[in-house]
Symmetry: C2
Subunit: 216 residues, 2 copies
């Protein structure tokens, strides 16, 4: 695709994300998206067959956001459990700060209204979390009775809950505080070194929290 | 209200719940609700001003379901932490088995489309959980550094996450297994007696799981 066509496509996608994020799928019209993008409806339909495909493209863009972030987390020079904590903070900040990530999340929530094939949610996150916990286990930092795959499922559930509840109750302004609290609640059940009732876990969370700043 | 009018109202509400649960707010029509209830649209509009009010009534019915269940949990002859575990299983089973609870949950998820005043979610559950954890703390079964209100927030997040992820991935068929796993993950961080790495927590969960059977 030519550079200019690609730039237009990205502009339309971003404008769509802003509208979908603000108003949801049903209330967003094609006309508002083209108005915000400053393009014609012809330009929009050149790239996207319709609103459903545009929504699906935003959701795919949302899913595509995570792969490089996960790669960065797994390349950190830190124990696996710390990589996981760092990753969780970066994900929550992306939901707070990135309009495409946020719009993708909202659209996924409204997915029953969207007539397009969409990625299956959660399974990718469960697989990623399970892989990182598997390395933590190999490093000896997990309690011996922990099954990485089961623990991954439940961590993903809990993280998803923090993400939704914080969105609902405080517009995500407190999401990092909620996330810190969640880790303090579950780390004693996960980590091998349980001597220190709280302090050691809090140190770990504070240490990892900003390991993965958002890329510019 | 007369008994017959009340019976009709309940029949309409239940029919609406079944349609909303299956098809969501946008795709459900008044005609399908009256057809399923076997009543006229006149009867429906006698009780409900329109689809928005009907959806709001289902959501209110959903919220009203919990109060007697919470009361039963708090009257159990069991330590507070066990009451909380028992309550969590009863709530998850209600979402799995009760169509009004399920429809209320789905409608709440689609709440932005519904033009009516709706109850604020989560805060009631956080208050309930916080109160029960406060009693657990007074009983000495919580770790001393646990703040009941903060822990309640995060438990509600995690339970909500289990509820949504299980609905999405396995149609709630495995929800009790997920919930057991969640408690095994968080109990070591909550409970005062941490000597037993896993067994004691699993015993507690198994013991409480069926303390609150659904009322007929």
């Amino acid at each position: 695709m030519q550079d200019r066509a690609e730039a237009t496509r990205r502009l339309i996608l971003r404008s769509a994300a802003e509208q979908f994020d603000r108003k949801g799928y049903a209330a967003t019209g094609i006309a508002e998206i083209t108005a915000q993008a400053g393009c014609t409806s012809g330009a929009l339909y050149f790239h996207f067959a319709g609103k459903d495909q545009l929504a699906a493209a935003v959701i795919e863009e949302h899913f595509a956001y995570w792969q490089p972030l996960v790669a960065r987390a797994e390349q950190l020079r830190a124990p696996a459990l710390e990589q996981l904590v760092a990753l969780s903070f970066a994900v929550m900040r992306a939901f707070r700060d990135d309009v495409v990530v946020r719009a993708g999340g909202r659209l996924w929530n409204e997915r029953r209204a969207i007539d397009a094939r969409l990625p299956v949610p959660f399974v990718g996150w469960i697989a990623t979390t399970s892989r990182i916990l598997g390395r933590a286990k190999a490093e000896g930092t997990l309690q011996p009775h922990i099954d990485p795959e089961r623990a991954a499922e439940l961590l993903v559930c809990s993280l998803f809950g923090v993400h939704i509840v914080s969105d609902t109750l405080d517009g995500r302004t407190l999401v990092e505080e909620h996330l810190t609290g969640l880790w303090l609640l579950v780390l004693p059940g996960l980590r091998a070194d349980r001597d220190d009732p709280d302090g050691g876990h809090r140190d770990l969370v504070e240490r990892c929290r900003f390991h993965l700043p958002q890329e510019q």
